[in-house]
């Protein structure tokens, strides 16, 4: 069995990549996809530590996060549809009416 710290590094890497995607991409759907990546990184971390301690809590937690991620994507897509309707473009740098 590989030392758990490897899994921690992996999850950190995936999380950072997801964060990179959130910060740099302009497409709103890309935004959503990157957030999915971040959530999955967290899930991986949970499962790894559940394996470390031999406790099922981490896995059950992962189930919940899974469910909520699905719900969140659904709502997020709804928001993107409204965004598209209002601004006729899903570029997040174009939707800037709520500013100073």
């Amino acid at each position: 069995m590989v030392p758990i710290s490897y899994y921690v590094f992996l999850s950190l890497a995936i999380f950072s990549i997801g964060l990179f995607g959130v910060l740099t991409r302009r497409n709103a759907l890309m935004f959503l996809i990157s957030i999915e990546l971040m959530l999955n990184a967290a899930n991986l971390n949970f499962v790894a530590f559940s394996f470390l301690h031999g406790n099922l809590t981490g896995q059950i937690f992962t189930l919940f996060i899974l469910a909520l991620a699905a719900a969140e994507v659904a709502v997020g897509i709804g928001i993107i549809i409204v965004l598209h309707r209002t601004f006729s473009d899903i570029d997040v740098t174009k939707a800037v009416t709520m500013r100073w």
């Binding site: 790894a48 394996f51 899974l66 991620a69 659904a74």
Partner: protein, 206 residues
């Protein structure tokens, strides 16, 4: 109970980790949304394999079912439904901007560096304990989820969280539907529309 690290474990881990990393890099870096969605699918599948390595078979199954089979499909539908005004065949999807947004990206890189430093400098974790040989993980998950005694593996009770997530899912469902319906264009209908929630049942398509 867990055997020490042997070469096959390490190799398999490295292989699947490479797949995961490569596909996620592809997710954030390719120009086309559809391509990045497909690569997301690859990444999610490889993470499911990681779960199996970590003795979380139920979670792996759920991951594939929900993420790849549900969320990815949803995202694909969204990508297909939202068209840009210009010609869809030309390559006019948003480009990867090498410009001001790169500065934002360096934050993520810095974050990675900082956190890896932290992880590196902590004392090493204990050896993984793992689950007992022949333990029934899925049934234990079921028992613990509802606070029913009888799970062979120790865990906490999640009945309260279960109920709350249930409500959250219903709320998300309603929210998504409400966001997606079309509202009328003149003001009077708008006002009366907003006051009657099940209006979409009556009115149909306008």
């Amino acid at each position: 109970m867990i055997p020490e690290t042997n070469i096959y474990d390490l190799l398999s881990f490295l292989f699947f980790a490479a797949v995961t990393l490569g596909s996620s890099l592809g997710v954030v870096m390719v120009k086309d949304v559809w391509h990045s969605a497909l690569l997301l699918g690859v990444a999610l599948l490889s993470i499911a394999i990681h779960y199996i390595i970590l003795s979380a078979e139920f979670i792996a199954a759920m991951q594939i079912l929900v993420y790849v089979g549900g969320i990815l499909i949803l995202i694909s539908f969204a990508i297909m439904l939202i068209r840009r005004n210009s010609d869809p065949t030309s390559n006019t999807s948003p480009t990867f901007p090498i410009g001001p947004n790169l500065l934002n990206g360096t934050t993520a890189v810095l974050f990675f560096i900082l956190c890896s430093f932290i992880i590196y400098s902590t004392s090493p974790l204990i050896s993984p304990i793992g689950f007992p040989e022949g333990a029934q993980i899925t049934t234990s998950i079921g028992y613990s989820l509802f606070d029913i005694p009888g799970s062979s593996i120790e865990s906490e009770g999640f009945i309260a969280a279960f109920e709350i997530v249930d409500i959250a899912l219903v709320a998300a469902l309603v929210a998504a539907v409400m966001l997606a319906r079309r509202t009328p264009t003149n003001i009077i209908s708008k006002v009366s529309f907003s006051f009657s929630i099940p209006n979409f049942l009556k009115r149909g398509e306008k």
